[in-house]
Each structure stands twice: as structure tokens, then as C-alpha cells.
Subunit: 665 residues, 2 copies
């Protein structure tokens, strides 16, 4: 028998109260044999057994078994798509939903309420998802490695084969439990064996995966190699306007549809970081996306097209070219050109998932194009799941950002939900942080990001704290004072990480390639367009109208705000301005003193995080506590390294001593 | 039939004059069937056919064949070991030697003279080798990769197998032609399959290799894993004082001797950069080396023990620990402890093969220990065989360095030759720059280093220019004005490389790991002990008696010279001193202006090198010219990158503008 070499994350179901008796199930409008309905009932049974010790008995067709309580599953088409209405009382519980996905999410809502300590009678929840698309993007390679993976290897792929195991199903369960309805299983950089995922070599297994996902209301998506006509078709080009190329795709898509009908569509990274794309043939991104989209529309599939297009062979000497501008420059002109089963996937910031950067001006800047927000819970630049960094506050800032694209309905949350412009498609995607580690996410606490992203994508009105507390309750079930400690740790962690790393929106300063640990000049003289421009007098990138003009890509209100250092939010000061070390911040502190102070503080606060965790030792399962403690040990080494390197670098460069005379090297 | 997918380097033998008739061979004191004598005759025949079109006919036992000229091979034991006396005239030629190696080297001397344009009658050369050990160290891994290899993969190993081909023999021929008499075939970092080179898995092939080498008077050596008793013997320790460990080694060495009798001995890198060694057990390096040496002395084998021992997990904050000190600190105290079939292999400088560094104070600092000089012709820090960098001038500087260890006989050349202290063993070793590329060395011109090292090790009195001209004549046979151009290119190339890279002995500033291209701070905050300590006021490492005290490791005369910035040779100023940017150099220039000037000059001079090469286009074989031209293209990109990054970095840091107002970023 296969041994579960993995945890159950937030579905581990410790007993919350002693229940009694049995549950029966009543179906009204739902087919008991529907795959998703079956999953929902399975989840309910598993959860109730764990949480309350109650048995769930499947009522026979005559309803003859006598049960203590009934779970009524009721179809109600007045509820918005994928939504649910849950109520429970002494009689049992009712979950109403307009469709099977809604039913499944309603069941998980019920479970969550119980797991979080609610008693029957207290539970009443009505919700429909904020976003139609709620996706996870895996950057898993078929050799088993994961690009930017910090939790072991892939559980989807190994040695160019697809793995299907009980872990696959558990993964689908976790995703569904937080409302994820789409998963891209393979890296956006599609090469080698992954190009063959859309061939007979892998169809059987891809189909099997898609079926497991379908049981949980999840569509499987594949990252597509735009050069497939060349690599698979033996053609010499992949020009999206070539009739031969189009014909090849038609045949290929028809074949895929025959073999993997449950698919949701494709994710494409084109013309980026060495990936092939339409630019090679003088075509626009829209030409490329539309060609594919038109072919697959008949199957109900969509094309998700990434906007991460920029010149990655920039010259560091060139201070006019600005990578931050690239997304808007490339995509804004084609607003309205994309067909309506194409959606543009836009990273939250214009650079690349830094601990803090401005919100991408494409979000809301596009007004006639389907668009979705891409964030990264894989902690590429945010601590590699070694350092604690609860990212939901960062995502909330992005979602709450006012773009000024339409009065009264202009936040990023509004835009990607489709409510601003009434697009056909919208949503959120995260580059996921999982791997085949025992605990799935490297750091046990990083699962709060996995959980949190799903919950937030489903309900963007949830607060970071609400999500943190939910995750803690479902994972650790702590007494309230202990829950407060851990909640506080999570909520502070992102700012602490920011304090000891790069500051005021400048970003980068990380070890090249690896992206963990400091290397202040690591990207300063590189081809990546990622510069801090520090000299002995000051630091920062001038992106105002006198600089690269990036600030002008925003709607007027934001453009003006960012353009002036006096009105620019201080946490983004160096993202938009080149500032002297002697510049006085609003606090009255000079910039250089802020650098010193924030780094010493960040280090101290990281130490406090570790101490707080130590205080939780008695109430956290020993293995989990031990794993996380080891991470904190490494985090402290990292924080010290960052603190000392940043301070030493800027002291050596500016010659201005720390006012407090602390040790700088 | 196997196609020669490689060049013949300096043994390609284009016709130098039209000869006539045939040669016979006369043997006096040499056995015609001796393997080395046979090789010598084969080489003579091949060379003469190519160079003059003359046939060499093997005279039968009665000498009945009538030949136009006779090559007499005469044993003469009055000539020092491995030496030769060569003379030629109308009658033919005579090569006298005390042993077969001397005979082979005499034949190659004869060939070289002819190839370099000497006519019979003009040739008269008498020489014996400056150094008893003249070795090449390959850093080839058994998977086929080469650590710090820039010329393709290994031609000894592929996929954990040993390759034996015609290329192997050609390699041996090239080595013998420049007097190499020992080759270590595997990387000093012995791991994985390479640990098994001393087991039945590989004995047959190792023996076969050693036989090919033996045909050319070359001893095969193996790099040894000091932890073999653990990895192969299944023991828990490799303590050199443990009886069980010693017994295991005795058995193992006896087995090796039985299977590979032609072996020369072993090279060991212990207690360095993660390699296991005697320190683990509280033993000295001498304990480890002597244990092995005592066991193998009966087989006439030797242990070559590397002195590259230092703390590679240093804290950059710590300004007292100095990696430059490590070799002397670890090895000086044990001077005299090493048994006389152990030889310490000492890198030319105390750091690691930088473009310029001080000469290691261990050389001559040890007075009662066999010692040999290690240099690197693999261009790890000197341009990856992309950038032209003729290294013989660097090696000459080291060899000519006066250590003051013994009046009148105190240069490094004296010390390692054994003539200073009368050691049993001495010599020179180079980390070689070859791989399975068509041209062996990546850059065709890098073969001048391969050739040059061998020639220099054999005769340390040769000048850099003599060696360059010899190599050019044998390789390209140019008219004298063209030869002058190429000679000048080679002779200037090291200083040009130095000018556009790191300066005045400071070293490093290279891309971490890769070691090509600039990264000024790349090693500044690292664990490697390789710092420049630049701040806004100055740069350099204080290694005087007020600093790390490294300068005091030299004999008094040098210690005093280095200790004072006024007497310290300026090209090593920053190796020994921390100097303000405003410090006036002897030229009257400030240090910062020197940085700017030398980098702009270096870039310009690199461009001149490329232009000179362009002028040689009509006289260099097209393929070779094309290959080298492509390298120059890359070199210019590299030189520009170095120039701009170094200048920008120091301008940004110092705030002092270039007096000449050139563009700095």
C-alpha cells in the first residue's frame, strides 16, 4: 500500500467537537452520481468524521435509512455561477448552489466553518466568487525540476513522465477547497519533453490528470510552445498568419480535443526571455493569440496570453530604456484587438514579483481586453520559502489599488473581476509554491500563501487577517492568544522581509539567477533592465516625465502622484525617483539613515519572529515546529547578511556614517 | 576509418624546404625496439616527410640499405638525465642522450630546429631539463566535463568511461614534443566515478593509457581521493594514523602496482574547498602525505601534495583573516616533516591564479621540503581562452622572482629546479587548457600557452619572446614581418588583459563561479576571502605589518619592500596596501585616474590586437583565422564591459570625475 508521504495541509481535520449520530444526504436538483457532487459528498464525509466523529451515511434511493441529520444539496439557479448559500441548524445543513462547482465550494465552506469552530446553527454563509478564473500556474518541468521551486520536485512530472498518484487527488482537493477552478500543470517556458504534452506520447496521462481535476471542478490547462509547428510539425516557421501554420494548429487542436476533452485551454508565454513568438514574423501579440483562440473557440477553450514581454538584453549603460515600460508599451496599442476567448495575464507589477513595486499600469489601462492578475506565491524574490513572508497583504494592496480607469469601479479587484468593463473573462492566477516535499510548501507556514491566494481570488473582500486566522484555525487550531501570536507573525512578515532586503520600491539587489540573499550590484551592470543607479550621492530610478516617462503610463491622477517625490507614496519613492542620500523623508530622517535604520530594524524583527515561533513550541505539532524552526535559523542568517551587506555597501559608497554608530563593515 | 577531428597543433609539419633522398638510422647504445626509441624514430620520420619530403628508411640489421644520410642515435651517459646533444651536418644528424627520454627530446629538438627554418649544418643544441618534474594537470571529470575547461569536453573521459583513441596518442606526442614527462589525467576534486579509477572497474583502461604515455616517456599520475578508505573500503574513517586505514592503503597500492605498473604516483588535494583530508582527524598535512608516500616508495612512486589549503567559509566582515596567508600558515611549520618522495605543489600566487598577484612566500620559504610550482594555462581568470592572454611572461616573472632564500641561487626557478636546496624532487606543473575541441585549446592562439609551458618547464632560461617565435614558426610559418606582428600580439596580451580587468594586483572582480567578465562586488561580500575593500575613499587590502601581516611571510628584503607603499612594486600596490583614490602614483597620476586611464587604454589596445589579427588574414590558414577572429569579437565585448563597469563603479563610488572627460556611466 502506498504510504502518504505528504501532509493534509489545512484539510487535516483534527476533532473540534464531539458530534453524535449520522448524517444522510438529500439531493434536490443535483445528480448524486455527478463526479463533482460525489466529490463534495466524499469531502463532507471525510471532514465530519475527522472534525466531529460523525458518520455520513449515504441514503438509499428510497431514503430508508434513518439519520439523525440531513445534508440537503439543493440546486438554486438564482445564485450566481459557482456561488453557494450554506445554512446549518439542528436539523442538519443545506447547501444551495446553481451548479456543481458552487455545491462543492459550499460544502467546503461548511467544512471550513466547522473547522474554524462554528457550531451547527451558527453557520450561515452566502457567497459567489469575485473572479471567474481562479488559477494556479505550475512552473514544473517534465524532468521533475521546478523553475523557482523551493519545495522539492514536481509531483506532476518525473524523468519526462507524468505521475498520477493519490497525491494528485489530494492536490486537487486542496485546490478545490479554496475555490481554484483552473490549473496549468507545466512551466510557461515550454521546451524539451513538455512540447510533446500535446502529442500521443502523453495524451493518456494528460487525460487521466484532467479527469482527476474534473472531479473537483478544476479545468486542466497546458502551457503551449508557440513554436510547436516547428518542433512537432516539422515546419520551418510558426508565423501565425501562415495558412500552413494555421492548418497545422487546426489539426492539432482537433486532435487534442478528441483526446483530452476536459481541458480548459492554454497558457502562452511568447516573445519573452528567449521564448518564440509572433514578433519573429513581424506579427503582433494579438495576431498570435487570436490565431490560436479562433481555432479553439469551438471547444469552449481559452487562450491565456502572458504580458511578461520585455527586452532582456538591455544595456545597463542605457538610461532611457526602461523595462518597467515594456508591458504597457507592447500591449496598450492593441487594446481591443484581442478576441474574446483570449485573456491577457498581467503580473502585478511592471518588473517581476519584487517585494514591493508599483502596480502594473496595464491593469485597468487596458479597457477593451480580457485581463487577469498574475501574482507569485512561489517565493522567488521573497525568501524562497525559507524566510517567512505572508504575501496576502501584498496582493490586497494590488487588488485595492485605484487605477482611475472608471469612476467608482476602478480598483484592480474591480477590473479583473470583469465588473468594471463587463469582459467575458477575468480572474487571478498565482505561480504556485508547491512541490513534492512532505509539507508541500517547504516552509509549513508558506501554505498560508497557497491557502490565502485561493481564498482571496474567490473573495477579494476578505482581509489579510481573516485569511490568516482561517488558515491557522484549519491548520493548527490554536487557543486564541496563540492564534494572535501566529496571526501577528504572518501579518508582519512581509514588511519585515522588505525592511532587511531592498527598500522603498527599488527592488532587486539579489544574488543573480538564484534570487536569494543579497548582491547589491548583482543586477546593476547586467542585461536585465533591473538597476538601482546608486552612486556616491544618491539612488533610485527616475521614471518621471523627466526620466523614462514610465509614470505617465498611469491615468492622470496616479501619473501626477507618482511624478512628484512629495506626493509619491514613500514606499515607492526609489521606484519612481533618483533621490540623494541626504533627502529628508516625511519622518524627518535622511534617506541614508532610513536605509541603516530599516535594515537594523528588519534584522531585529526577524529575530522577534523566530522568538515568537519559539513561544509557540508547546502548541504546534513537534515535527511542524521543528521544520519551521530550521527555516527561521536560515532566515536569520539571511537577514543578517542582507542587513550587513546593504548597510556596508551604502556606507562605503556614501561615506555617511550611521547616526547611531552601529557596526557597519 | 577514424577521421582526425582535431588539428596537429605545432606538429602539423608544413614543408620548410625541399629535401632529397633518404635517411637511415644508426643505433649506438640504444635498443631499436625500446618503446620510446621507436616513438623517437617514428616522430623523426613523420616530421621529415612533412618538413622536407625526405623518406626515413629503417636500416636492416646488417645496415645493408644504402641511405643518403644517417641519423645516429648515441647513448652518452655523461649528459645529465633526460638531456640531449644534437648536431646535424651534410652527413646527417647525431642525437646523443643518456636515456630514452633524452633521446626523444633530442629528436624533437632536431625537428623543432628544422621546422623553425634551420638548415642541416646549422643545428647544434645541447640541453638538459631545468626541472626534473614537468607536468600537466588535467581537471577532467569522468562524466566528460572539465572543471574550468574552455575547449570542449574531456578527451580522456566520457560518461564515466575512459576514452582511448588516436587522439590519446597525439596528445602524448604533443606533450613529449615540449618535454612534459608527467600527466595527471583526472580532476584534483576526486569524486563519483573518479574515486573508482583505482579499482578493477578501470584498471585495464588506466593501464592502456599509461602504456600510450610510456611510449612517449610520460608517467601517468592519478588524482587520489583521500577518503578512499571510506568510499571504496567501506571504512568509517580515513585517518592517516589509523592502522586499519594504513593497511587498507597498503593493500590498495599493492593492487594498483600489480595492475598499472607504469604509474608515476598520485596527486592529492586534501582539506581544501570541501575535499576530505588529515585535518578532520587532527593530523597534519605531512601526516597524510607521508602515510601514502611511505607505502608507495617501494614502487618508485611519488605523492604530489597540493598546498591550496585555506578557509573557504570566511566572513567578509572579518578583516583580520587573510586567505593569502593560509598556505604559508598551514605548511611552513611542517617544513622538513615531509618524506622525500612527497613533493608539495604550490600555486604561483597565494590567492588563485589571478592576472597578477604576489609570488607565494612558500616558494623558497620552505627550505627542507620538495616543492614544485603550479601554474594555470587553463584561462580560468584570464579570459577563458576567448580573450588572448599569452601567459609565459607571467610565468617568467614568477620564475625570476628573487625569494632571498639563499644568496646567489634564490629565484623560484632555482628553488623548484632543486638546485637551491638539493631536493630529491622538484619541477613545474600546469593546469592544462586542452579539451576535445577541434583545435584542442578553444582559441588557436591559446596553444602558445600549452606549448610555452612545456618549453619553459624544460628550459626556464628561454625568454617569452623566444618561445612565442618558436610556437609561431612551428604553427604558422610566417614571413618575418608577420611573425613580428603575431609575436608582439602575444607578448602584449597579458598586460592588455590586465589593463581592462582588475588592476594593481587587486584581482578578482570577476563574475562569481564563472570567472569570466566583470562583477566588481561579485566576491566582495562572499565567503571566499577575496575582497577589494573599496569604499568612497580608497581601495586595497592592507597586508602590511599593520594589516594582516601577510607581507611578513617573505624573507626580510621582500617583506620590507612590500610593507611600504613607496617601495612596493606599483603593479602590486593594492595587493599589499589600502590606498586612497587621490594617492599619487609614480607617474604623478592619481590612483583613480590610473584606473580610468588603464581601462580605456586596455580596451583600445584590445581593439588593436583584433586589428593586428585582421592584418594577418592573408597569411593565416582561413579556418584558423576565422576561429580566432570570432574570439576577438567576444574579447572586445568583454573588454568594453570590463572597462565600462570598472570605470562606472569607481566613478559612482568615488565621485571623482575622469580628468579627460570620457564617457563613464
Amino acid at each position: 500500500m502506498e504510504v502518504n508521504n505528504w501532509t493534509q495541509l489545512w484539510l487535516s481535520y483534527q476533532k473540534v467537537y464531539e458530534g453524535h449520530g449520522t448524517w444522510g444526504i438529500g439531493y434536490s436538483g443535483f445528480d448524486a452520481e455527478n463526479r463533482i457532487v460525489e466529490s463534495a459528498v466524499y469531502e463532507f464525509r471525510t471532514a465530519m468524521e475527522g472534525l466531529t466523529g460523525e458518520n455520513v451515511v449515504i441514503t438509499d434511493s428510497e431514503g430508508n435509512v434513518k439519520n439523525d441529520r440531513i445534508l440537503s444539496l439543493v440546486k438554486d439557479e438564482s445564485i450566481p455561477k459557482e456561488g453557494y448559500r450554506v445554512e446549518s441548524g439542528e436539523y442538519g445543513a443545506t447547501v444551495k448552489a446553481p451548479d456543481e462547482n458552487g455545491l462543492l465550494y459550499g460544502i467546503f465552506a461548511l467544512i471550513r466553518n466547522v473547522a474554524c469552530g462554528k457550531k451547527p446553527g451558527e453557520i450561515k454563509e452566502e457567497l459567489s466568487p469575485s473572479n471567474p478564473l481562479r488559477m494556479m500556474n505550475h512552473w514544473d518541468n517534465m524532468d521533475g525540476s521546478i523553475e523557482r521551486g523551493y519545495s522539492g520536485n514536481s509531483f506532476f512530472f518525473d524523468k519526462d513522465s507524468i505521475i498520477i498518484s493519490r497525491r494528485t487527488r489530494d492536490y486537487a482537493r486542496f485546490m478545490a477547497s479554496v475555490g481554484i477552478n483552473g490549473v496549468v500543470i507545466n512551466n510557461v517556458n515550454v521546451k524539451d519533453a513538455a512540447s510533446y504534452l500535446i502529442t500521443d506520447r502523453y495524451f493518456d496521462k494528460v487525460k487521466a490528470l484532467s479527469e482527476i481535476f474534473a472531479d473537483y471542478g478544476i479545468k486542466l490547462y497546458l502551457s503551449l510552445n508557440f513554436a510547436s509547428p516547428i518542433e512537432l510539425g516539422g515546419m520551418s516557421i510558426c508565423d501565425p498568419m501562415s495558412k500552413e501554420v494555421i492548418d497545422w494548429w487546426k489539426g492539432k487542436m482537433s486532435e487534442i480535443h478528441l483526446k483530452v476533452p476536459e481541458l480548459g485551454g492554454f497558457l502562452v508565454k511568447a516573445d519573452s526571455e528567449g521564448r518564440p513568438g509572433p514578433f519573429t514574423y513581424g506579427r503582433t501579440q494579438a495576431d498570435g493569440a487570436n490565431m490560436l483562440a479562433d481555432i479553439i473557440d469551438q471547444y469552449g477553450w481559452i487562450i491565456i496570453w502572458r504580458c511578461f514581454v520585455y527586452n532582456c538584453t538591455q544595456d545597463w549603460r542605457d538610461k532611457k530604456t526602461d523595462r518597467a515600460r515594456a508591458g504597457y508599451d507592447y500591449f496598450k496599442d492593441q487594446d481591443g484587438d484581442y478576441h474574446d476567448n483570449v485573456i491577457l495575464q498581467i503580473k502585478n507589477g511592471p518588473m517581476d514579483f519584487q517585494i514591493r513595486e508599483a502596480v502594473s499600469p496595464l491593469l485597468g489601462g487596458l479597457t477593451r481586453t480580457n485581463q487577469m492578475l498574475e501574482v507569485q506565491i512561489a517565493q522567488e524574490y521573497t525568501g524562497h520559502q525559507i524566510d517567512l513572508c505572508y504575501l496576502i497583504p501584498l496582493f490586497k494592496e494590488v487588488l485595492d489599488f485605484h487605477t482611475y480607469c472608471r469612476e467608482g469601479c476602478d480598483t484592480v479587484a474591480d477590473v479583473v473581476s470583469t465588473r468594471t468593463f463587463g469582459n467575458r473573462l477575468g480572474g487571478m492566477a498565482a505561480v504556485i509554491n508547491t512541490g513534492n516535499d512532505y509539507n508541500w510548501t517547504g516552509n509549513d507556514l508558506a501554505a498560508a500563501n497557497t491557502y490565502g491566494f485561493g481564498r482571496l481570488a474567490f473573495d477579494t473582500s476578505l482581509s489579510s487577517e481573516q485569511i490568516a486566522r482561517e488558515w491557522i484555525r484549519m491548520t493548527y487550531q490554536l487557543e486564541s492568544d496563540k492564534e494572535d501570536i501566529l496571526t501577528d507573525m504572518l501579518l508582519r512578515s512581509r514588511e519585515i522581509y522588505e525592511k532587511y532586503t531592498s527598500f522603498l520600491g527599488i527592488g532587486w539587489m539579489v544574488t543573480p539567477h538564484d534570487h536569494y540573499g543579497p548582491s547589491i550590484d548583482g543586477y546593476e551592470y547586467s542585461r536585465w533592465g533591473t538597476y538601482h543607479r546608486a552612486d556616491h550621492l544618491g539612488i533610485g530610478v527616475d521614471r518621471t516625465d523627466k526620466g523614462t516617462g514610465y509614470a505617465q503610463q498611469y491615468y492622470k491622477e496616479n501619473a501626477q502622484m507618482y511624478n512628484d517625490p512629495k506626493t509619491c507614496p514613500e514606499e515607492l519613492l526609489l521606484f519612481f525617483h533618483h533621490i540623494p542620500y541626504t533627502y529628508k523623508l516625511k519622518s524627518g530622517k535622511t534617506l541614508i539613515q532610513y536605509i541603516y535604520d530599516s535594515h537594523f530594524e528588519g534584522l531585529k524583527e526577524a529575530q522577534e519572529l523566530a522568538q515568537s515561533w519559539e513561544r509557540l513550541k508547546p502548541v504546534i505539532p513537534a515535527e511542524s515546529h521543528e521544520r519551521v524552526s530550521k527555516r527561521f535559523e536560515l532566515q536569520l542568517v539571511n537577514a543578517r547578511e542582507w542587513c550587513d551587506q546593504v548597510n556596508s555597501y551604502f556606507y562605503r559608497k556614501s561615506g555617511i556614517p550611521d547616526e547611531k554608530g552601529r557596526e557597519i563593515f
